[in-house]
Each structure stands twice: as C-alpha cells, then as structure tokens.
Amino acid sequence: MTRFATLAWLALRELWISFRLLALLGVFLLAVLPVALVPYVLPELAGTPLGRMAWYASALAVAVPLAAGISAATLSGELRRGTFAWLTLRAVPRTTLLLAWFLAFGGVVAVGMALSATVAGISLGAAIAAEGVGAFVAASVAVAAAGLAAVAVGLMFGTVLRPVAAALGTIAAVGAALYAAAYGPLGWAPLPTAGIAILAGLGGAARPIADALSSSGTALLVAAAALVLAAARLRRADL
C-alpha cells in the first residue's frame, strides 16, 4: 500500500470511528427521504413527481453545506489535536495529508450522493424517464461535483479557523453559493452549485445536460483552486 493510500485509509478509519462517515452518508440519505416516503406516509402532501424532485433538490441544498461543514471542522480539529503534527513528523508532506483527507471526504460524499440519487431515481422513476434519464444523471453528477467543491472549500476553511468557526464559515459560504445558483441574477449560469438548481427545475430546463456538465467542470475547478489555497496555507501553518 502506498503512503498516500495508507493516509487516505487512516482518514477513512477516523471518519468511521468518529461517526462522521455515517453523518456524511446520512445527510445525503436524509435528503432523499421526503421523496421516497411521503407518497406512502402522507399521500395527500405528495404532489407531483417533479414537485418532489424540487423538494429533493432543496434538501440537497442543505446536505451539501452540512457535509462541507463537517469536513471543515474535522480538518481544523486534526490540526489542533496534534495528529497532523504526528504524521508530519514521519516526513509526510503536508500537501499529501491534505489530499488524503480530500480523497476520504470526497469519496464518502460521492458515495452518499450516488446512494441518494439511486433512491431518488427509483422513487421518481416515471418522472425521470419522461424528462430524460441522462438529464437526471448529469444533474446528480453536477451535485456530486458541487459536493467535492464544497468539501475542498471546507478543508480550506479548516486550515485557517477553529473547528466551530470553520464549520459555520463553510456552511455560510457554500450556502450562499447555492442560494446564488438557485435565486441569484446569474440564474442558470454554470455556477459550481448550479447542479441543484438544474435538478430542481428538471422539467423546465432547456439544456440540462449541457448546463450540468458545465456546472460540474466549474465545480471541479473550484475544488482544485480551494485545495491549492488550503495547501499553501497548510505549508505555512504552525502545528
């Protein structure tokens, strides 16, 4: 096992043991619960399938900032509890540690989003088939990419602020980006968080796949930029 894989596995074990892995998966699975359960539990509130898709998108708009907030608090906590220092003393470059944590968080967020989208796809199968499976998949991928960008932003905040402040700052920043995508003057512009807006408006989108791909690309660029900033900050940080 390479050094990077060892560190990523260590980060995953820490997430598992601290229950944060379950929390990360949980926020994405909770987001899909209204879509999956309301028709059976409260059929009078169920509305149309496309309406429920909008609920789902709204719930994801909460899940993504929460996941990012967890990543911010985790990294900040690792820096302050001395575990980063212990690993750095074993000649592990700080950037390698950061990327290992990003891989761990990004992997969990991607799996969480995949599970969530699968449940949504099963629950809203007919509506999705009508609007195009490709559009739904592309929008879900765009949301996952937004999740990666949000995690990277969270890691960046985590290198600067204390855990609670880092989590709150990340939630505010990612939440603002989501709000801008959904309601801002830029509308459908390829914001990194536009995937959620595309998902919410799946029935009325003119070119959802192109917009989702554009949003995904921007999200990955934002993730890269946030990681570069986080690495620069981490290299200068006192451990």
Partner: protein, 249 residues
C-alpha cells in the same frame, strides 16, 4: 571536541504576541543530553517545535544531524530526527501495534524491516499487555510510551522531547528516557528539572527568549547548585557576573 548535532543561529519567533525566542544561539554536541528549562515556560516547548519543523521561525537558521531545515519531504529527516510532544498526537483508536506499524510504514521500511523493529520496540517499552487494544483503553501512560517507541523506531540521531512520559511511573520513565543512549543527542524540555537527574548531561536556560546559560550538569554540582530551575538560574547569574562558574557545554 565533538561535532554539533544541533546548531541554532539567531532564532526568533513570537507566539500570541509574545517574543518567546529572541535571537537564540545554541550548539549541542553529538551525544549530549541537554535539559532545557525556560522562562516563560513556553519558550522551551516552542524551541523544540521549531527544531522539529512544526513551527516556522520568524528568522534564524537550524541544522539538525547535519540536515538543514525546511525540506519537510527529505527522505532522511524522519529517520534522523524524532520529536515527542507532551500530547502524543496518535489516534487513540489505534493499538500500539498499529501505531508502530504506521510509523514504520511511513518511515519507508518494508515488511521485513518493520517486523523486527516493532517487536523490539514492544519488548523494550513493555507494551506487550496493551499491544492489541486501542491506546485509549491503556490510558495516558500507554499513549506516551507508544509515542516514544514510535519516535525511536527509526533509530534517530537527534531526539527532541517536550515534557515526555509524565504519566509513566518515575523509575520506568527514567529507564525509558535513558534509552536513546550515548550515541544519540537528546534535547529535553522540562518544567520539573529535578525529575531529570541522572538523565541529562547538560543544562540550558532560556530567559526572556535568549539563551542565558548552557553548561554541563556537573557545573551545577561544582557550584553547589541543585538541578532545579533556581539552581540553573543561579548558574546563569554567576556566569553573567563573570564568576568562574561553568565551562560551557
């Protein structure tokens, strides 16, 4: 004269607005075991963290075991320099065996090299009873012993210890702190100098961010001074007054 294992030149660094290192110059010869006391107390810890590469100095230079500072990815760094903080920083859910395996793995040892080193460390540090249960269940003593075992796993030339093994019984603590042996250079920051008797061969005092005295432990005895903060400070005052107190380290 023995070559220097640790060379510090004009080191400066503030912490939370306080200048804790204000132009520190220090040379520690190979094989010396130096007790570092300081006022403010945080100065000693900060100096060790700078030496370990965890904290960046505002200015000045550091060389340890012939290595210049600043190249954190240097392959030889982890094998030649070890640092142990008061808080070990090991994941408490790891077992001592896992922590040692991780340390050996990250140091670049292959499977054949890892096993004998880990087995030897477990025996020397008497971790057999706790080796396969999480460090958190063994308490602070197991965590600190595991951290020191991990630090010494690579047979480093310079060992930096910041208030080490405070949770370990005194006799066991003294035995473990002597482990680095004659060949290794040890810098030990302590708030309880008397507890380091028999472990250290040199003493140094950082006062107001500067090196006030660096002498052999025997100089304290020759001047009728105890191995205590007051004793080391009195030795520094004697040197400052120009009295023939000590021959520097």
């Amino acid at each position: 004269m023995r070559p220097a294992a640790v060379v510090v030149r004009r080191l400066r660094r503030s912490w939370h607005g306080q200048r804790l290192l204000d132009g520190v110059d220090l040379e520690v010869p190979v094989g010396a075991r130096l007790l570092l006391v300081s006022r403010p107390e945080a100065s000693g810890s900060l100096l060790l963290r700078v030496l370990a590469g965890l904290v960046r100095p505002a200015s000045g230079s550091v060389r340890l075991a012939g290595l210049a500072h600043g190249n954190e990815s240097a392959a030889g760094w982890a094998r030649r320099v070890a640092f142990l903080a008061a808080e070990p920083g090991i994941y408490p859910w790891l077992t001592p065996a896992e922590a040692l395996d991780l340390a050996a793995r990250l140091a670049g040892y292959d499977r054949r090299e890892r096993r004998p080193r880990i087995e030897a460390a477990i025996e020397v540090f008497r971790l057999q009873a706790d080796v396969d249960r999480p460090i958190s269940r063994g308490g602070a003593a197991v965590a600190q012993k595991t951290a020191l075992a991990a630090a010494l796993l690579t047979d480093p030339e310079v060992v930096l210890l910041d208030e080490p093994l405070r949770s370990v019984l005194p006799d066991e603590r003294a035995r473990l702190l002597r482990l680095p042996g004659q060949r290794r250079t040890v810098l030990l920051a302590s708030r309880l100098p008397a507890s380091e008797a028999g472990i250290v061969t040199q003493v140094a005092l950082l006062r107001d961010g500067r090196l006030a005295v660096h002498a052999s432990a025997a100089d304290l005895e020759q001047n009728g001074l105890a191995l205590s903060f007051q004793g080391i400070e009195a030795l520094a005052d004697l040197q400052l007054a120009g009295l023939p107190a000590a021959s520097s380290g």
